[in-house]
């Protein structure tokens, strides 16, 4: 257990000190604020059926296509090609401890970025002396937003980590993660449009639910079955990462 925390503290220092990670975080917060400001004017005429925070998440979510590869690509593949990975972990932590330590750090950082981005919006409104006559989202909607962020980030990060484990370079890992996430984000949406909802209702519903984010609202992942599916896929990707890390 102590080795897991050692990997966690090492990874946290790497994330918090590397200029690349800080730049990614800064750009993400800036873009998410811009997205919110693009959403805000449409609420001038009065409340709409979709609350601003929900619409903000829906429009911001595709940023994971850049955020996740930027966070995960260098984590194992980059350190391996630089040689620091072998030097650090050759006679120390087990593969599971390394994978979990790295995953947890990136997960915490990712959750921090999304939460901070969400908190930033009402603060920005207040700073600009603007206000909405209704809340950004209701309590249950906030819960669903956080559930989407928590589940989606865990699944995508585990995929990125797995690809970083098997890739030979961080560039290859980043490109593969980008390609995979594009398929996850837009694939079900495209396929569900090609299929008729009347003829294939179960498949259509499943595909729409799997398209976390752009395909629909956060409620698309709130179901227990989908949460279980995403959780299982995350755990599988992490176990595979540990197995491949041990073999190489």
């Amino acid at each position: 257990m102590d080795r897991f925390f050692a990997v966690l503290s090492y990874e946290w220092r790497r994330v918090s000190r590397a200029p690349g990670f800080l730049a990614v975080g800064g750009i993400f917060l800036l873009l998410s604020t811009l997205v919110f400001w693009s959403v805000f004017p449409s609420y001038g005429a009065g409340p709409r059926s979709v609350r601003p925070a929900v619409l903000w998440l829906e429009r911001s979510w595709p940023m994971v296509l850049v955020l996740i590869p930027a966070l995960t690509a260098d984590t194992i593949a980059g350190e391996r090609s630089a040689g620091t990975f072998e030097g650090l972990f050759r006679d120390g932590a087990a593969a599971v401890e390394i994978v979990l330590g790295k995953f947890c750090t990136l997960y915490i950082y990712s959750l921090f970025l999304w939460s901070f981005a969400l908190i930033l919006q009402p603060l920005a409104l207040r700073a600009a002396s603007l206000s909405l006559p209704f809340p950004l989202a209701t309590g249950s909607e906030f819960l669903k937003i956080f559930r989407t962020i928590a589940l989606g980030s865990a699944f995508y990060l585990s995929c990125g980590l797995f690809l970083s484990t098997i890739a030979r370079s961080s560039t290859a890992a980043g490109a593969a993660t980008f390609a995979l996430l594009t398929i996850f984000l837009f694939g079900p949406r495209i396929v569900s449009k090609l299929l008729s909802a009347d003829r294939w209702p179960i498949l259509w519903d499943l595909l729409a639910r799997l398209a976390i984010g752009p395909a629909g609202r956060p409620e698309s992942v709130c179901g227990g079955a989908i949460a279980g599916l995403v959780g299982t896929a995350t755990a599988t990707a992490l176990v595979l990462s540990a197995i491949f890390l041990r073999r190489r």
């Binding site: 102590d2 080795r3 925390f5 050692a6 990997v7 503290s9 090492y10 220092r13 790497r14 000190r17 590397a18 630089a82 040689g83 620091t84 072998e86 030097g87 650090l88 972990f89 050759r90 006679d91 120390g92 932590a93």
Partner: protein
């Protein structure tokens, strides 16, 4: 004195190029051993195989009587190694790096061991103030050597270190470790090495002792 490292019939090829051919030697406890040869003779490959980061095609390596092929943790606890181009995470300070290695290696009495290596290798003035990336290459080598020396393993595998750096390691220890040190020529190592093995295109050609080896 018992044998700490035994290498028998070690071979390694890269494609059609045979880098190591039937390499056989052994090192006793507390012995300082020089592995001498020109560039491309197979010194670094030998040390990489001995430290477990590369596998040989055939032959056996045992450290303290434990076969390296078994990949046991016990065998890895018996040696520390410094690679020719030992990469270190430049964003950590030497203190942070060595503390992390103490935790990963699960070193007994870690705090005392950490302060011992920081003091022995003269890293106290730099330990917390500078990051490894800001240090000179000489000091970075000392950080790598301090890492290898953590928990005082009975064998040190050192690739391309200066004799004075090895002397620091030997003088900082109450019990003398066995050392396998690489170099391009015997004269540069003869002040510190008790035995030599000469590598020429992967084969051990001459074996001598002290100054007579040159």
């Amino acid at each position: 004195m018992g044998t700490i490292l035994e290498v028998r019939g070690l071979c390694r090829s890269f494609g059609s190029h045979r880098t190591l051919r039937n390499l056989t030697f052994s090192i006793n406890e507390g012995e300082v051993f020089g592995l001498v040869g020109p560039s491309g003779s197979g010194k670094t490959v030998t040390l990489r195989i001995l430290s477990g980061s590369l596998e040989g095609d055939s032959g056996t390596v045992s450290i303290g009587g434990i076969s390296l092929a078994a990949r046991s943790r016990k065998a890895h606890e018996l040696f520390g190694s410094v690679a020719e181009n030992h990469p270190l995470p430049g964003w950590l300070t030497p203190f942070e790096y060595l503390r992390l290695r103490v935790r990963l290696k699960d070193v007994r009495d870690g705090r005392r061991e950490l302060s011992r290596v920081l003091q022995t290798y003269g890293l106290l003035p730099y330990g917390k103030r500078y990051r490894i990336g800001q240090l000179s290459s000489g000091h970075r080598r000392l950080v790598a050597l301090a890492d290898a020396d953590l928990a005082m393993p009975p064998l040190l595998l050192l690739d391309g270190l200066e004799p004075w750096q090895v002397r620091v390691a030997l003088e900082g220890r109450p019990n003398s470790p066995a050392v396998l040190l690489t170099g391009r020529s015997a004269p540069e190592l003869e002040a510190i090495c008790q035995k030599f093995i000469f590598l020429d295109r992967g084969s051990a050609t001459v074996c001598g002792e002290g100054g007579r080896a040159a």
